[in-house]
């Protein structure tokens, strides 16, 4: 008789735990965000984070975009050839890259590279008392550690996504023109003709949101890590997994907001 009640209690506890975590996360995000706008500003740290996210992620995001665009051209060609619609390849490549693949793939790659690194760095600072040291040195850890990362994530990912878009479209162009024998001028014309401002803009909005989420997850899990090296390892894993899942969820939500009829 007790089993069904225990089962319901288990679900209830899990749900309450989820709500508590969500509440803590929102408060953490609010506190971090408000410190972006309140002095003092640590410009040196903001610049360092921007370089780390925006510049050093460029190769991995560029490679991802390039091969995504190339595969997209190849796959859509083989699919569309079945009903003689090969001419749509250029349009499919350009719309897919700007609306979906550019922001999502760049977001996931940055989650792996930057989210993990932020969680590991801040987590190590937590378990070695460096964050306590910041407080005793009259420096707010949110202002010094969290705000620069949130700001850098929010502002830098659109640039990365724009780069991924351009390189991805170029990858599709290379495969289409040099392997599939498309006419170069026609391909470029069709790419440009069907591309609208909203396609690029929605991708950049997604990028900003994803960048913020990646930084938030890295900072949150790192900041709350416990139990030494094991805790830092868990924080790193949680940061990447939660950022990746949130990217996919918010990708749907933003797409719905921009494009649902």
């Amino acid at each position: 008789m007790n089993h069904p009640i225990e089962f319901v209690a288990l679900i209830g506890r899990a749900f309450l735990g989820f709500l508590a975590t969500a509440g803590r996360l929102v408060l953490f995000a609010l506190e971090g965000t408000t410190h972006i706008f309140r002095p003092p500003f640590y410009f040196r740290l903001i610049r360092r984070q921007m370089v780390d996210i925006g510049y050093y992620s460029m190769p991995v995001v560029g490679m991802t975009g390039l091969f995504a665009g190339m595969v997209l051209a190849l796959q859509s060609y083989t699919g569309f050839a079945r009903f003689s619609a090969e001419g749509a390849v250029a349009t499919v490549v350009v719309l897919s890259m700007t609306r979906e693949l550019g922001p999502v793939l760049a977001g996931l790659m940055v989650a792996g590279r930057i989210g993990a690194s932020m969680a590991a760095e801040i987590g190590t600072m937590r378990v070695t008392e460096q964050i306590d040291a910041l407080t005793t040195l009259s420096t707010n850890p949110f202002k010094y550690l969290i705000a620069p990362r949130l700001l850098a994530g929010f502002t830098m990912l659109p640039f990365l996504v724009l780069t991924a878009d351009i390189i991805g479209i170029f990858g599709g162009y290379v495969v289409s023109v040099y392997k599939l024998d498309f006419n170069a001028a026609n391909y470029l014309k069709r790419s440009w003709e069907f591309l609208e401002f909203l396609d690029v803009f929605s991708g950049l909005v997604k990028a900003s949101v994803f960048g913020f989420l990646v930084a938030l997850m890295g900072c949150y899990h790192g900041f709350n890590s416990k139990r030494g090296a094991q805790g830092v390892g868990a924080a790193t894993t949680n940061a990447v997994v939660s950022a990746s899942i949130l990217i996919l969820i918010f990708n749907y939500i933003i797409t719905e907001l921009f494009f649902s009829k």
Binding site: P40, Y42, T124, M125, T128, E129, Q130, D132, A133, T135, T136, L137, S138, T139, N140, Y144
Partner: protein, 265 residues
């Protein structure tokens, strides 16, 4: 109970009936302690007796559940992070158990951190002050450009000490200052602590279970056991405390009223 050194200004730190629990585990059960002006007090006690928690409650890293904590007469219990806490923390210097130096900053930047990040001082001026403080703890200027990971643990402790005294604090806290150091380096650090505290002219509150260190750096010693101060007095009276708990602890005996809890794995 612990009485402050008689001064006109009253105790620099005053703890009254401070309680702190983590869930069902009651760590502090009514701590009373005074630290006088320019006085060095050492809290001794076994692992898990609440020494670090006491320190963290004063520093605002943890909030006490109950009781009063006054710093220079100002009530600070319940003071959350913000400008008031930052203003208060500007009076403090802290040497952490494992130094807690910032890995990403050079040694001199660590020492000057409170000046650059906390007080907005220019880097050139802050570097100059950092070099002077480093000289005070026996570190050459060459060390200033290294990163903490390139230093031995003894050197890191020295850097941590230089960082603690850099803003000329009114109170310095030392958390297990000699843990993990060999006896000679421990003595060097103890000597530096005594010198620096005198040089800066501040009050000091240390926690340790190293009796050699406690005798060396303290004017008074207080023993914490099961979340309460069970004895406090001048260093030269600790051997005649008449308290069997203190006797067992300072002589490092396994037999006695203090039972070590050993938990089966």
């Amino acid at each position: 109970m612990a009485d402050a050194k008689k001064t006109n200004k009253g105790p620099k730190i005053q703890l009254r009936d401070v309680h702190k629990a983590f869930g069902a585990k009651q760590v502090l059960r009514g701590v009373n302690l005074d630290v006088g002006e320019a006085e060095s007090v050492v809290i001794i006690g076994g692992s898990g007796t609440g020494k670090s928690v006491t320190l963290k409650c004063i520093l605002g890293l943890l909030q006490a559940d109950k009781g009063s904590i006054k710093v220079a007469g100002e009530e600070v219990a319940g003071l959350e992070s913000g400008p008031d806490r930052d203003r208060l923390n500007a009076k403090f210097g802290m040497l952490f158990q494992h130094a807690a130096l910032f890995d990403s900053l050079r040694v001199w930047e660590n020492v000057a951190f409170s000046l650059t990040a906390g007080h907005g001082m220019g880097r050139d001026q802050a570097r100059e002050i950092a070099m002077k403080k480093m000289a005070l703890v026996g570190l050459s200027s060459k060390v200033g450009d290294l990163y903490p990971a390139e230093l031995s643990s003894g050197m890191q402790k020295r850097v941590g000490l230089a960082r603690a005294i850099a803003p000329d604090p009114e109170i310095i806290f030392f958390d297990e200052p000699t843990t993990g150091l060999d006896p000679i380096m421990s003595d060097v650090i103890n000597e530096l602590i005594v010198t620096c505290v005198k040089e800066v002219g501040c009050s000091a509150l240390s926690i340790t279970h190293d009796m050699v260190s406690a005798r060396r750096i303290g004017d008074r010693i207080a023993m914490l056991y099961q979340g309460k101060i069970i004895w406090a007095g001048p260093v030269n009276q600790i051997d005649r405390s008449g308290n069997e708990y203190v006797d067992q602890f300072i002589n490092g005996r396994a037999e006695g009223p203090i039972e070590m809890l050993v938990r089966a794995l």
